[in-house]
């Protein structure tokens, strides 16, 4: 059993300043995850050189992999840091901020682009009102199973971080948003504006920017069938293309 764990953390003080690596060596405690180690650093912010430094800044909330906040690169791969167990990681453990989003500070990034994508694809049910309008449609169990899986997406960004087509200098919507169009286009009332969502997917940054690398589905912590969603939306836009050419 090792006595200590070494963390190499890529830090950045402000949005515009350069990044630098800092090493922390902390006592090994069984059953640690990356977050509990970051907390240990917070409670005793001393780097490997013995210098007292500002505690590492990261983003987290639920710590049980349902909120998506604590996503970062761990040993080069994107993962939630709450469910990254120290015992299972190669040492020293390298932590970096996600590379596809602007860094705010240290391991914190700004993922607004993903939430903006949800606006673009109109990921909502347009309701007539919140008064009592009776129950929703009856739906089959299999419909629920498909929709539930898609609806588990926590906008964490793993899919787009791993995607070779998504970068800070294009405006690709990414797998998460494309999968949400599938979810809403299958909802009994949200599908009333299915065509508008398809129009969005057929613009720059839409589904045609997918390069079929399929890293998204491998990286998704919730095992959402993202490639199936992309294929399904590919089918829907193909139909729309046909209608645009021959029926419009």
């Amino acid at each position: 059993m090792p006595d200590t764990v070494t963390f190499k953390i890529k830090r950045q003080d402000t949005e515009t300043s350069g990044s630098y690596w800092e090493t922390f060596i902390i006592p090994y405690i069984p059953n640690s995850n990356v977050i509990s180690c970051l907390m240990d650093i917070q409670a005793n912010p001393v780097n490997a050189k013995g210098e007292e430094v500002a505690p590492v800044v990261w983003e987290s909330n639920c710590l049980e992999e349902v909120c998506g906040a604590c996503t970062m690169l761990i040993n080069g791969k994107v993962h939630q840091s709450c469910s990254a167990l120290v015992d299972k990681l190669e040492k020293p453990i390298r932590l970096e901020p996600m590379s596809k989003f602007p860094v705010v500070r240290d391991l914190t990034v700004d993922r607004s682009r993903m939430f903006d994508a949800l606006k673009k694809v109109q990921a909502w049910v347009a309701a007539d009102g919140y008064h009592d309008l009776g129950p929703g449609d009856r739906l089959s169990q299999s419909h629920q199973e498909t929709a539930y899986k898609l609806s588990e997406c926590m906008t964490c960004g793993c899919c787009v971080e791993a995607c070779p087509q998504y970068s800070s200098d294009n405006n690709f919507l990414g797998a998460a948003a494309i999968s949400q169009t599938r979810l809403f286009n299958m909802h009994p009332t949200a599908k009333n504006i299915a065509d508008e969502r398809l129009d969005t997917l057929m613009q720059e940054g839409g589904i045609a920017d997918c390069g079929n690398a399929q890293n998204c589905v491998e990286a998704c912590p919730k095992s959402i069938p993202l490639t199936e969603s992309i294929a399904e939306m590919g089918r829907q836009v193909s139909g729309k293309l046909w209608r645009n050419i021959f029926k419009a």
């Binding site: 409670a43 349902v66 909120c67 009776g134 929703g136 169990q141």
Partner: protein
């Protein structure tokens, strides 16, 4: 009058429900949240949301739901609010269904319902085992739609520091701290709603998320708002141990047939699957034949404590018991509980479909919270147009969701919190708008000088925090404080320990003044915020601990063995109703009751007269001053609880 708007602090279920309802009614809303609202703590709710839709034809009704809720809360909940909530519940579930929540379905395509603690009915609608997440996402989507339409503005990565009060003491806005730039400024608002959730972080590790510090409501308390029932902290019977957090293992695991047991022999070192059936002690099923594994959480947590601490039967001699689902097929479990079983497997490396889970009790929810008002109708429901609903004792400052106090009494039933969050958000909205419509002037027209004083106070306060250069690390101090709370203000409470904890908290408060602000940078620096939050958590721990110390009784989650009324085993609650009726008629026929029953009922009655009251904490001279207030119990007569 200039354009008016409401500021909603917090983007969980309650905050977003209020936001979307007010936006629907045409009001501009500013949502302020620590994180992107989609990451709020509501996502952690797993099991489901209660509503007596009676899909299973069991004869369930909102009134039975109401009774279960009040009984579960040991009669400390405000009954008109509970009744209104339970009557609105079926409509709320239908609404969420319409908004796209992926609830599980029956073969015919209706919503499916499962059982939960504290009731005998299938009343809990659920979306896999991540119901809170699914409900929050549906509201998040609605609010995003309003955002696009320009009715809602979001300030994510911002923190609420305090209310701006005008000369009359009315809330006219909020002081907001930008967590990136560090800028502190005022936002004008004609009403402010605190929907900031619970205070789990006062206990350090709990099932709560990292933002659940209770800071916003404590800030309101420090500004003069009353705090209710602080000592009622729910301990959830089943959580997964962890160094950073105690992850919840939903009650739905038991709702779907999960069985709690320990080896009959203390220190049995065999693997759980090697222990034959007859050597397993299904203590909840044996002790509570009627409710079995689905006793309310306060009862469940106490029994686990009793088994592990008093009987020393905990797994491996630790504070742990088995929660066993292995009798179900994998398909069944994945379909109905997938999310939580995956979490267990990810964090422990053990497949709960093959091996019984090891679980233990953890701090989960605060029944108490900021005091809020309401207006009841003659039928015992709520007048939804009343501006009083959910208003704190500061005019214009409202609270909703876990931040408030009236719905769950001394103990909350599982799957009632998602309901109460959405219910309060929706219910209060028309009243808030009525309040705003009758204001003499819009916040927009109030002179800037009213705001600049508050802003200046907070700017100075943060500048002071940043210049703190003592010896204490704020995070280490927080751990120590939490350790103290966990040790002494948990399931079993003793006055001597509570007293010493109060002294300890005073010590922490003076040590807080010796903190070193370990990061003094200006950009995206969470440390000054945390130091401020720690101060508020210290104040909140005083409310909890002092409330617990002074409440000399056993009610709901607040268990003091010293004041246990010792209900006789063969006692039935109906007997007490008869006793009360006779008392009302003026003559108790003592020979109709067995002597030990009679003595118990007299103890119970006396205790209720003294303690069936809301604890009110008011900030005076640097600490909470405790007083008591009547509870509206006019609809269901209080009686002893019984679950066997």
């Amino acid at each position: 009058m200039s354009k008016q708007r409401v500021i909603v602090i917090g983007g969980g279920l309650a905050g977003l429900a209020a936001t979307m309802k007010m936006a629907e009614l045409g009001m501009s809303v500013l949502v302020v949240s620590f994180l992107p609202v989609k990451r709020s703590h509501s996502v952690c709710a797993q099991g489901g949301i209660n509503g007596a839709v009676n899909i299973k034809g069991e004869g369930d009704s909102p009134d039975i739901h109401f009774y279960d809720t009040v009984k579960g809360g040991d009669f400390l909940a405000h009954q008109p609010l509970c009744k209104d909530m339970c009557h609105e519940a079926p409509y709320i579930i239908n609404l969420m269904d319409r908004l796209g929540v992926t609830f599980n379905r029956t073969p015919e395509g209706n919503l499916d319902f499962r059982r939960f603690g504290g009731t005998l009915y299938h009343r809990t609608a659920f979306a896999g085992a991540t119901t809170g997440q699914q409900l929050l996402y549906a509201l998040d989507e609605q609010v995003r739609h309003f955002e696009v339409q320009g009715l809602v503005e979001k300030m994510e990565w911002h923190e609420y520091l305090g209310a701006v009060l005008n000369d009359d003491g009315r809330c006219v806005g909020a002081v907001i701290h930008n967590l990136r730039s560090g800028e502190i400024k005022a936002e004008k608002g004609d009403a402010v709603i605190l929907a900031t959730g619970g205070p789990g972080l006062v206990y350090g590790r709990s099932t709560n998320s990292m933002v659940c510090t209770g800071t916003a409501v404590t800030s309101a308390y420090l500004q003069g708002a009353k705090y209710g029932n602080g000592e009622f902290i729910q301990i959830h019977p089943s959580a997964i141990p962890g160094r950073d957090k105690l992850r919840l293992m939903s009650e739905s695991a038991r709702g779907e047939g999960g069985r709690v047991w320990v080896p009959r022999k203390a220190g049995d070192s065999r693997k759980p699957k090697e222990i034959p059936e007859k050597e397993r002690f299904y203590f909840l099923e044996e002790r509570y034949p009627l409710f079995g594994n689905l006793v309310p959480r306060d009862v469940g947590a106490r029994e686990i404590y009793d088994i592990c601490v008093n009987d020393k039967l905990g797994v491996h001699g630790e504070m742990k018991v088995y929660l066993d689902l292995t009798h179900h097929t994998r398909e069944f479990l994945d379909h109905r509980l997938g999310g939580i079983l995956e979490i267990y497997e990810k964090f422990t490396g053990v497949d709960p479909r093959e091996e019984p889970m090891e679980i233990f009790p953890a701090v989960h929810y605060s029944m108490g919270g900021i005091w809020t008002d309401y207006t009841r109708t003659d039928e015992g429901l709520i007048d939804h147009q009343s501006p009083n609903n959910q208003m704190t004792s500061i005019t214009g400052l409202y609270a909703a969701g876990e931040a408030d106090y009236q719905y769950h009494g001394g103990n909350r039933l599982g799957a009632n919190s998602l309901l109460s969050c959405i219910y309060t958000g929706l219910m209060m909205s028309p009243g808030v708008l009525n309040y705003i419509n009758n204001l003499p002037e819009a916040a927009e027209d109030i002179p800037a000088s009213v705001y600049s004083a508050s802003v200046k106070k907070w700017q100075e306060s943060y500048a002071n925090i940043k210049s703190m250069n003592g010896k204490e690390n704020p995070y280490a101090l927080h751990r120590e404080m939490a350790e103290e709370m966990i040790s002494n203000v948990l399931i079993v409470r003793e006055n001597s320990k509570l007293k010493s904890t109060l002294d300890k908290i005073d010590e922490f408060e003076s040590r807080w003044k010796n903190i070193k602000c370990v990061d003094t940078s200006d950009w995206s620096n969470p440390v000054p915020s945390f130091i401020n939050q720690l101060w508020n958590m210290i104040q909140l721990s005083k409310i909890i601990t002092k409330g617990a110390l002074l409440r000399d009784e056993f009610r709901g989650s607040h268990y003091k063995p010293e004041f246990d009324l010792h209900q006789p085993d063969d006692f039935r609650p109906e007997t007490y109703l008869e006793f009360e009726k006779q008392k009302e008629d003026g003559q108790i026929k003592e020979d109709e009751f067995s002597p030990d029953h009679l003595a118990y009922m007299k103890r119970f009655s006396k205790n209720n007269i003294k303690w069936l009251k809301t604890t009110i904490a008011t900030y005076r001279n640097g600490g909470p001053e405790i007083s008591y207030e009547a509870v509206d119990t006019s609809l269901i007569d209080p009686r002893p609880r019984k679950y066997d």
